[in-house]
């Protein structure tokens, strides 16, 4: 509540009466309301904000002292944790030197305002991004991706304030297209949703975004975000589509969804709420056609669930991201499957009979949806999990192995694309990265 008030430009305080969660459950005893009515009346008549000082106009510098650098580093980490700005993993304090270094990756001035980070409303500049990226162990060449991702999150169509606060725990999934992915080592291959020392960029960028969500946006667990489980929230999910692994004639996700020309450096942000592995490959002597079709059915079967959080994106957003490995995409393309026919198959065969929806109490959620188009969908039987096949995000990514696909179910009112802006000195940053980290397995600027 304090975040929401603060996001509206009021002092971060509210005349608020807090009760134990039990009272808000079906069949609860609401007698406590009577017992505490005077507090409610006081909120309307006597309440005064406890917030005294106006926040400083620019970023404040903090200071710790230690007997040695090691000691000071420990104290800085403890300071960040006790002020509720950490995530439990070690971090780099955002010193002037480190932040100035990160800012070399910006095409924009450090004071460039991206917006207010909802729901708390912390003012978010390029420097704010650089501070978070410094803390998250990032590098300057990562900054353009982070800035573009933050800008995408701020798009009004995401309803980002609600996604930050909700109990469902959505997390940003940032899909990177274009050559920048290989250049800065964002993973599109084996283990792309997890840690990989050969491709460290996604972890730092996603961690920085999460730190901003918490520290600038106020999404502190149990206080500013009521995410009950909060999965994937250490680093969110920042990965690349395997543009070069696309079968002939297939288009990058950013082209299909956002109309960006192939080869454009871009991000596409989806808010995901779950991650599920789908064992796709057959086990016996299937023909190629059977293997492909069985796998498609298994993917559709995983999608055929009343994921009511996805109602938010039923018309214009997405029910989720289906990731298929490049080798699978190539084999399916050879069999005549296209991106459109895959999406159409998944859409058609993930429809849910209304009897099953009713059994799960799902129609009530459709009835109260604020979007009339979504409410109208209650008349459809079987019920499609989104308005049209194109809502489904299909991405070619993952290791060179045919056994699994991956479904990131969504809570995403929209899918937002942004072109990544690079500084003129970007090539120099890549050269320095190769000097610092050694040549990556698939890119080298100093070879």
């Amino acid at each position: 509540m304090k975040n929401a008030v603060s996001g509206l430009g009021l002092a971060p305080d509210a005349a608020m009466i807090t009760f134990p969660i039990d009272m808000f459950l079906p069949g609860s005893d609401i007698g406590q309301l009577k017992a505490r009515k005077q507090e409610i009346y006081n909120g309307l008549t006597h309440w005064k904000s406890d917030f005294k000082a106006a926040a400083p106009a620019k970023s404040t510098m903090l200071c710790v002292e230690g007997a040695s650098y090691e000691d000071a580093l420990v104290k800085a980490n403890n300071f960040l944790l006790t002020n509720l700005w950490g995530d439990g993993l070690p971090m780099w304090p955002a010193t002037r030197e480190r932040v100035d270094w990160i800012l070399k990756g910006s095409a924009l001035p450090r004071t460039h305002m991206l917006g207010k980070f909802p729901p708390r409303g912390g003012l978010t500049t390029v420097e704010t991004c650089a501070v978070a990226l410094a803390m998250a162990g990032g590098r300057p060449e990562y900054l353009p991706v982070l800035v573009a991702a933050v800008d995408a999150c701020f798009d009004p169509s995401t309803v980002f304030d609600q996604l930050q606060a909700t109990s469902g725990g959505p997390f940003p999934a940032v899909i990177v297209n274009g050559p920048i992915a290989r250049q800065i080592r964002v993973n599109s291959g084996f283990g792309l949703l997890g840690p990989d020392p050969q491709h460290p960029a996604g972890a730092s960028i996603g961690r920085a975004l999460r730190l901003m969500q918490q520290n600038v946006g106020g999404a502190l667990p149990g206080v500013g975000t009521m995410a009950i489980f909060g999965a994937m929230r250490y680093t969110n999910a920042v990965f690349a589509e395997d543009d070069e692994g696309l079968p002939p004639g297939w288009q990058p996700h950013a082209t299909q969804r956002h109309g960006f020309a192939p080869g454009t450096n871009s991000v596409s942000v989806v808010f995901a709420s779950g991650a599920t592995n789908v064992r796709r490959r057959g086990a016996k002597k299937e023909t190629p056609e059977e293997d492909a079709l069985n796998g498609m059915w298994r993917m559709a079967d995983f999608m055929r669930t009343p994921n009511l959080a996805a109602l938010a994106g039923w018309e214009k957003g997405t029910p989720g991201i289906m990731m298929i490995a490049p080798i699978v995409a190539r084999r399916m393309a050879e069999l005549g499957w296209t991106q459109n026919s895959i999406r159409e198959f998944l859409w058609e065969n993930s429809k849910i009979p209304m009897a099953q929806m009713s059994r799960a109490g799902a129609p009530a959620w459709i009835e109260i949806d604020s979007n009339p188009v979504t409410r109208e969908s209650i008349n459809l039987d079987p019920w499609p999990i989104c308005l049209k096949p194109d809502n489904i995000v299909l991405v070619v990514a993952g290791g060179g192995h045919p056994t699994h696909s991956y479904w990131l179910q969504a809570h995403s009112p929209s899918v937002i694309g942004r072109v990544i802006r690079l500084p003129e000195t970007f090539d120099e940053l890549l050269i320095q990265a190769d000097r610092d980290l050694g040549c990556g397995s698939d890119h080298c600027a100093i070879a």
């Binding site: 969660i21 808000f24 600038v216």
Partner: protein
């Protein structure tokens, strides 16, 4: 001693408007509800309405559904406009969880 200086990572806040002034008394006032229709609001807010009517002579408490309800609607400019035009002296917002 080694000194380590670093940026505050929380971003600055911009306070652009004051909280609404509080009322001297609730007697004879006009009170509205803005409800997200969640978390047993359909039971709690009517109870609150009856308590207010019982405890404060002349108070007028508008029906629960006077203004648009639901999470997606209660924060809109349209709802704020309707609240402003209704002439209420105070608004109770519920329920968050």
């Amino acid at each position: 001693m080694v000194k380590l200086e670093f940026h505050d990572p929380s971003g600055t806040l911009e306070i652009t408007q004051p909280h609404a002034p509080r009322l001297a008394s609730l007697e004879g006032r006009r009170i509205g509800f803005v409800s997200n229709e969640q978390w047993q609001a359909f039971r709690m807010l009517p109870l609150l309405k009856s308590m207010l009517e019982q405890d404060f002579p002349g108070v007028e408490v508008l029906p629960i559904d006077t203004f648009p309800q639901g999470n997606d609607l209660i924060g809109t400019e349209k709802t704020a406009d309707l609240v402003g035009k209704s002439g209420v002296d105070a608004v109770i917002v519920g329920n968050a969880a």
